[in-house]
């Protein structure tokens, strides 16, 4: 009886701690997720416009600040810095606190830095739309903004590093490796790339190479580890079993760490660079399949036998979709970077499709999974509507699949037609017409789905969620056994104690 009482007390302390951590991070995390979702909606509107303009050049052609050359970079940069980075910050901040078992003591600083980041995104977007973009892919925000981003990044994430350092010595979770790596890889990639592009008087061709490297480094060294860290947290947590293979996880992590930094310069294949540079990039992108397979097998094997939970839990469903996209990303990366196909990807839609697959199909789906898990915990309310979640999931899945297939397949035909040097270039543009129309329609679908997500998230932040002990599941009833375990049944515990 005494040991039972001890374990009961321990469980109680544990729950109290988790509740305190969640409470301490409620506003920063909800701020990042909600403003990220709002920027996502903006990015999708801009993506819809730019995609529409790629097959109908007269669309909004009379509006100077909405011409293609401004809308397209605004779309990509808002998607990355407005949505992607902020979702990643929310995930890093919350997961690191939970895994290190430390309350956040600097929520005010994080919130302030988050506001500065948001102002930076706003200023950057307006800068691009009013013609002050820098013209360097993924660095288009006016060049005054990147030091601001770097400083606010430091004040958002340094607390997670402190929590990690101050956590109890002992086992470090797989998720923590990835999150810690992402924490330090981002400033490396971001600062190095911006210094070499904007500050140093390097050769401009080399600056273009650094710029191409920056895109893939940001994907493989920031968005990928954050997404994988989230998945490595959610899959064992929701199923209540350990990660399938610890050595495989270790292998996957170091494979990514070793291969990831080399990717990117294949964009300049055939350009005036030493030829080993683009081909090293192409080889590294092919080799990304190795960590993709390692992680994919590990997480899917962890979920094996829990297909019912995958079907019913929004978090797991999005996570599985994201991990499946990561596997597809590895395979597509292998296919696109063979020398015979590489030349068709240089000036076609293919690169865009690959980037969207990485940012949206892989990272964002994993981030949605994390958000559907985290938000009920920090708000202590359950999601309002399974239908909203379902709409969000299916519209996003079908939309993103359409965007990726249209851009990559259409881009390959587009690139092959451009290679036909003895026919008019207009023929190549005509070939991609149907695919760009498909992309536009799909962006519309995704926008529609993400509006459900944004609305749902704002209602949750306003604490209008369901007051319930049972998570919102996509299948079955809201009562019964929770696949998320008993951790949030604090009220039930209080009731039992009373």
């Amino acid at each position: 009886m005494g040991s039972d009482s001890d374990s009961q007390t321990k469980l109680h302390d544990d729950m109290e701690l988790r509740a305190r951590i969640d409470r301490s991070l409620r506003h920063p995390v909800m701020f990042f997720f909600a403003s990220g979702a709002a920027w996502l909606a903006v990015a999708l509107v801009l993506g819809f416009i730019s995609s529409y303009q790629s097959h109908d050049t007269r669309f909004l052609s009379g509006v100077g600040f909405l011409n293609y050359g401004r809308v397209y970079p605004a779309h990509v940069n808002v998607l990355i810095y407005g949505w992607g980075c902020q979702a990643a910050f929310g995930l890093i901040v919350w997961l690191m606190a939970r895994l290190s078992r430390k309350e956040c003591t600097c929520a005010g600083v994080i919130l302030t830095a988050g506001h500065i980041w948001n102002l930076g995104v706003l200023a950057g977007m307006l800068g691009i739309l009013s013609g002050y973009g820098s013209g360097k892919p993924w660095m288009e925000f006016p060049s005054a903004i990147w030091p601001l981003f770097l400083v606010s990044y430091f004040f958002i994430t340094v607390w997670s590093f402190i929590q990690f350092r101050c956590s109890e010595p002992g086992k470090t979770y797989v998720a923590q490796w990835y999150l810690l790596a992402a924490l330090f890889w981002f400033p490396w990639v971001y600062l190095t790339a911006h210094l070499f592009v904007f500050v140093f008087n390097g050769h401009p061709v080399m600056a273009a190479g650094v710029n191409a490297w920056f895109k893939y480094a940001l994907i493989f060294l920031f968005f990928t580890p954050v997404a994988l860290g989230t998945s490595y947290y959610l899959a064992p947590k929701v199923t209540g079993r350990p990660v399938y293979s610890y050595p495989l996880a270790l292998f996957g992590f170091w494979a990514l760490a070793i291969i990831g930094p080399w990717a990117g310069m294949q964009k300049l294949a055939g350009g005036p660079l030493p030829q080993f540079m683009p081909y090293v990039g192409a080889a590294a992108t092919v080799l990304i399949l190795i960590p993709a397979l390692a992680v994919g097998v590990n997480i899917l094997m962890t979920l094996r036998g829990h297909e019912a939970e995958v079907g019913s839990s929004p978090s797991l469903r999005f996570t599985v979709a994201g991990i499946a996209s990561f596997l597809v990303l590895g395979l597509v990366g292998m296919g696109l970077n063979t020398p015979s196909i590489l030349k068709m990807t240089q000036f076609s839609l293919t690169g865009y499709g690959f980037e969207i697959l990485a940012i949206y199909g892989f990272f964002s789906m994993c981030a949605f999974g994390g958000i559907y898990f985290i938000v009920p915990r920090v708000t202590r309310r359950e999601w309002l509507s399974r239908r909203f979640i379902g709409w969000h999931f299916w519209l996003t899945i079908y939309g993103i699949a359409t965007v990726v297939v249209c851009s990559i397949m259409g881009g390959l035909f587009h690139g092959a037609a451009q290679e036909a040097y003895n026919s008019a270039w207009q023929d190549a543009a005509k070939i991609s017409y149907a695919y760009t129309v498909g992309t536009t329609v799909a962006w519309g679908l995704i926008l529609f789905g993400s509006l459900f997500f944004l609305l749902h998230l704002l209602l949750m932040w306003a604490r209008l969620g369901r007051r319930s002990q049972h998570p919102t599941l996509l299948q079955g009833e809201h009562h019964g056994e929770s696949p998320h375990g008993p951790e949030d049944d604090l009220d039930k515990l209080h009731t039992a104690e009373a």
């Binding site: 078992r101 430390k102 430091f154 340094v158 590093f161 402190i162 350092r165 101050c166 956590s167 109890e168 010595p169 330090f184 400033p187 490396w188 600062l191 190095t192 210094l195 070499f196 500050v199 140093f200 008087n201 390097g202 050769h203 401009p204």
Partner: protein, 263 residues
Amino acid sequence: MGSGNDNPLKRFSSFWLGLALFGAFGLASLVLGIGFTKPGEDSFDRINEKRRTAIKSEIEKAHAGALEAVEGSFSTVGTQFLETAPSGVEKPEFVLPGSATQKNKAAGGSGVVVPEGFPVVASDAPVDPAVMEKGKLTFAICSACHGLEGEGMYHINKTGPPLAGSEWVTGPVANLIAIQFRGLNGPIEVKGETYTPVAPMAPLPLDNDSIAAVLTYIRNSFGNKASPVTPEQVEAMRGELGKPMLSPADLLPPVPTPGTTPN
């Protein structure tokens, strides 16, 4: 339990370690970047900018020179045209010794000079109809200004004065031949009326037969009656060719003054 690992000192040191690690790569890049940038060396962009500026100023300079040349060329071309305009040869070495020109020059006048031995034709000498026909044909040129009937076009378009009944036409033959060779400018009084044509009559130095025929024709048409003109008379007046254009004052008086030879 975990408080041993979590204390303010650890947190403080972690903050600065974090800052150092965040900035480590940037610092390394900065050192590399500054180390590899030679002081005072222009960037690639700056070198290109300088080259572009130099090319631009060169082009502008060339354009400025060309503009000056274009503006100056108008007067240059005009001067050249004036310099190359044809004019009568008046060089003294071209004047034949003993010729009418030489005598005219020696006399210092620009008036019509009747050479020595100018053939005389009787005023009632018969007129050859063949010559009249030839003259009529040649008169087609003259009729443009003087009218088909010699009535003159002056009252229509201020060109030629009338030939019909003109005292000049039936006057001295030397005048008419000289006008063919030298042209005639200025207001001229015909039958008591002053005519000021808009343009002078241009010299029309045809061959001797044609000039003789056309002059014979006008002297014996439109009601005129005077002696025919012979090619020999025209030939004798060749010395007039190349002299400055005539004015009515240079002509011999149409009505012979007493004591001179009526021709």
